[in-house]
């Protein structure tokens, strides 16, 4: 009895996901098709990338509200450099970028902004909520400046492969996401770094007294969150063949929702990457299902909110003694 219950609890996200799929299959004949499957997978992959970084941040008892803006900025940087290169009039130089170089630049910018977040939080003790809220505004503004408020389009077929290409019968974004997830699972579960993340979230003071360099770990975590937001930004830009200045608006909310639905505790120290992946799947399937069923967008929002609440209530019931 208790065994059955604990198994149900353990796999509750997967069960919820299966139930959701069965219901949608019954309601719509377009849902359970290979084409729709790949479609959903491609859409979800960006949220998964961001949410993997978000999970690590939340495990340390932090939060990152800036991922949507960082996503937009790094995508725009990659697109802009690829299309126009970098002109430095004062030095009379022009630097052209290959696809690879542009991507690398985008990732670096994402990571750099993440480091800046981490620096504010660890060095100046700015609460993560505030530091990343400021970054949300700053990076969005920077995106507007960089793009002049207009999309950067026409980035070429080589770049578009990242968003629309296939490899071994599987879409590229899915490949990238799978790699990100595998690396992140290994990082959090199998390395010293990951252990330190959990320790800091579980009890920062005890972690400090155990010789863990709190500031270094936290800075890295925000840097990783920034880099993964940039990965999402590059995938999105490549898929649309266009960097939109308002890309990634409110993506942080979907990402936090995925983390929370996946059972990671906002008070830090408990949760997992795989939980988040399941959370992102639930949100993604729900989104696409509601669209297929022609549910009005207004109702979609309400349903999503209710699902988040339900997930957290379930989590509370399973962990009654935490605050």
């Amino acid at each position: 009895m208790t065994d059955l219950k604990s198994i149900l609890v353990k796999f509750q996200s997967i069960i919820a996901l299966l139930v959701l799929c069965v219901v949608l299959t019954i309601l719509s004949d377009k849902f359970f098709t290979l084409e729709n499957g790949w479609n959903i997978a491609r859409q979800i992959s960006i949220n998964v990338c961001i949410s993997v970084g978000m999970t690590m941040v939340i495990l340390t008892k932090g939060i990152d509200l800036s991922v949507g803006s960082i996503l937009a900025f790094s995508g725009a940087i990659a697109a802009g450099l690829l299309k126009y290169g970098l002109e430095i009039p004062s030095m009379n130089t022009y630097i052209g970028f290959t696809v690879f170089g542009a991507i690398l630049a985008g990732l670096t910018v994402g990571g750099g902004l993440g480091v800046l977040n981490g620096w504010m939080i660890t060095r100046f003790k700015v609460p993560p909520f505030v530091a990343t809220l400021a970054m949300l505004a700053i990076a969005r503004g920077a995106t507007m400046l960089w793009t002049g408020g207009f999309p950067i389009t026409g980035l070429g077929a080589d770049f578009a492969i990242i968003g629309t290409g296939w490899f071994l019968g599987i879409p590229m974004p899915v490949w990238i996401t799978v790699i990100v997830v595998v690396l992140a699972v290994i990082l959090t579960k199998k390395t010293k770094f990951g252990r330190h993340i959990y320790a800091i979230g579980g009890n920062e003071s005890a972690a400090r007294l155990s010789g863990i360099n709190i500031n270094k770990i936290k800075t890295w975590v925000y840097a990783i969150a920034g880099i993964l937001a940039a990965v999402g930004g590059i995938i999105l830009t490549a898929r649309l063949d266009s960097a939109q200045p308002n890309a990634g608006m409110s993506y942080e909310l979907d990402s936090i929702a995925a983390v929370v639905i996946g059972g990671t505790s906002l008070s830090g120290g408990r949760g997992s990457i795989m939980g988040t992946v399941q959370g992102a799947l639930i949100i993604g399937v729900l989104n696409s299902g509601l669209v297929l069923l022609n549910v009005s967008p207004f109702w979609q929002q309400i349903i999503k909110g209710v699902v988040i609440l339900l997930a957290v209530i379930m989590d509370r019931l399973n962990h009654p003694n935490e605050d």
């Binding site: 390395t191 579980g202 010789g211």
Partner: protein, 506 residues
């Protein structure tokens, strides 16, 4: 003629399981009206669990509770409180940035018809309440400014406001100074006069004789007997009740031959961060040799914890002075440096600073030496289990497995996990800050022997303790701290309680 005891609360056949662990197994308990009912038992015997059931913290259990012969069932602490049962947990539950009065009236605020708080009334009542406890603090003082002992008083006052008939105290004296203990005992006597019944838990056996009216023994989740007649009972009787057999409770240290000097500190000062001319510790000089146990004694606030923290690299920017390990000067700028140079610190507060409570025992044990359980760049759970199993066995940690979450262990066993964490780093110098706080007699002895064994293995050990008999039993040499400075030094030969106390209050 002996009068019939008046039983106010009765627990009948209480069983409590946590998953597979049976914490309480058919426990029966009578609480006598207006008496101090003391519960004794080893770490993990189930004392705290039983108290949590009586006070509504755990609403689910088998068995029944009778309050004044009436069956009761509490769904939460508030319901228990309404029926007159209050619990004072070892961890205090006050809100630091609210005043004393605001804390006491939290959730029971007095307000007028418009919902506006009547703080004058609340302050007045708080004042009256505190006076009943012989306490003359200003009710508007913020709780964050109070000492631990005073905070405890506020918790008691809170219980009295609800007119508690039964007050449960779980290890109330483990974190307060001797004078505070004295005033606590006065309060308990006072409560008794008002016919309040007390349930009291402590591992400090000596103090129990000062207040107990009766003893109840708990062992492995079962009630094993009571001592109704306190006069004439001895400490050995108590130990027999707890442990079920006689144990030699007088610890005798084996002689250890000292090796070379392992730690030397010179002119260590720690100015206050706010006022550089004021010192938390001032001009401390001492050395420890391999195999030596150096005791640091002092009253609360004398600077003992600050000294250990400073040496351990927690205040690198403001401390001055030099530290030598193995006769080489070392620069300790962080805890990492301290660990790398072979230091370990078992902190005073295991829950706040010692353990990551929601983590498995095994992960806590390896926390300060993760590199030991890394194989080919990855954490290896087999190595990790092996490491922690070694200490679970050698320190006799009571747990179903090394994968148990630390928060599910009893207090004493948690302390052993913290010890294991530091032993796992193979330190050269070990700092122990109140290592036996909240630990039962048997485990205390085990820890004393462990300290002795570690000394024999050549560690230099510095122990802080506020229990004088303890520090005299385990140390080779005792340094006394008073007002941030060293005020006395004693060797095992010339140490006596009076002289040490005198130096401590100098």
């Amino acid at each position: 003629m002996k009068d019939q005891p008046n039983i106010i609360l009765q627990a009948k056949n209480i069983t409590k399981r946590f998953g597979g662990v049976i914490a309480l197994d058919n426990v029966n308990l009578d609480v006598h009206l207006g008496k101090v009912n003391v519960i004794v038992g080893e770490n993990g015997a189930g004392k705290s669990t039983l108290m949590k059931i009586l006070s509504g913290v755990y609403p689910e259990y088998e068995g029944e509770l009778l309050l004044n012969n009436e069956q009761v069932n509490f769904n939460n602490p508030k319901e228990a409180m309404r029926k007159g049962i209050a619990i004072i947990h070892q961890e205090l539950n006050l809100i630091p940035y609210l005043s004393i009065a605001e804390n006491i009236f939290l959730g029971r605020e007095i307000h007028n018809a418009f919902g506006i708080l009547d703080s004058r009334q609340m302050v007045k009542q708080t004042k009256k309440l505190l006076e009943r406890l012989d306490c003359y603090l200003n009710p508007k003082t913020l709780v964050s400014e109070l000492r631990v002992g005073e905070q405890q008083l506020i918790e008691i006052a809170k219980a009295l406001l609800e007119d508690a008939k039964i007050v449960i105290m779980d290890e109330p004296t483990s974190a307060i100074s001797d004078t505070e203990v004295e005033s606590l005992f006065k309060i308990i006597a006072n409560l008794k006069k008002h016919n309040v019944s007390i349930l009291y838990i402590s591992h400090k056996l000596d103090e129990l004789f000062l207040i107990a009216d009766r003893f109840i023994g708990l062992r492995d989740g079962k009630t094993v007997g009571t001592i109704e007649q306190v006069e004439g009972a001895t400490k050995d009787d108590l130990i027999r009740l707890m442990v079920g057999r006689d144990i030699k409770n007088i610890y005798e240290k084996d002689a250890v031959t000292f090796g070379d000097e392992i730690l030397k500190v010179k002119d260590i000062c720690l100015p206050k961060a706010t006022n550089k001319s004021c010192f938390l510790i001032e001009n401390i000089n001492f050395s420890v040799r391999k195999g030596e146990v150096l005791g640091l004694f002092g009253l609360m606030g004398a600077g003992r914890t600050e000294l250990l923290e400073t040496l351990f690299g927690l205040h690198p920017k403001i401390m001055t002075g030099s530290v030598f390990i193995d006769n080489k000067e070392v620069k300790i700028k962080s805890v990492m440096d301290a660990i790398q140079n072979g230091m370990g610190l078992v902190p005073e507060n295991r829950k706040e600073d010692g353990l990551v409570l929601p983590m498995e025992i095994s992960k806590n044990v390896s926390m300060a030496c993760v590199d030991k359980v890394v194989k080919n760049g990855f954490l290896n759970s087999e190595l990790e289990s092996l490491l922690s199993k070694k200490y679970i066995e050698s320190l006799n940690i009571k747990t179903p497995s090394e994968k148990q979450l630390s928060k599910n262990l009893s207090g004493g066993n948690q302390q052993k996990v913290v010890l294991a964490k530091w032993l796992a780093t193979n330190p050269k110098v070990l700092f122990l800050d109140e290592p036996t706080r909240g630990i039962d007699v048997n485990a205390k002895n085990e820890i004393y022997h462990l300290i002795n064994t570690l000394a024999k293995e050549g560690l230099g050990i510095v122990v802080v303790s506020s229990e004088l008999p303890e520090i005299m039993a385990i140390s080779d040499r005792i340094l006394v701290l008073s007002n941030s400075k060293i005020s006395g030094e004693f060797n095992q030969g010339n140490a006596n309680e009076e002289a040490i106390m005198k130096a401590a209050t100098a």
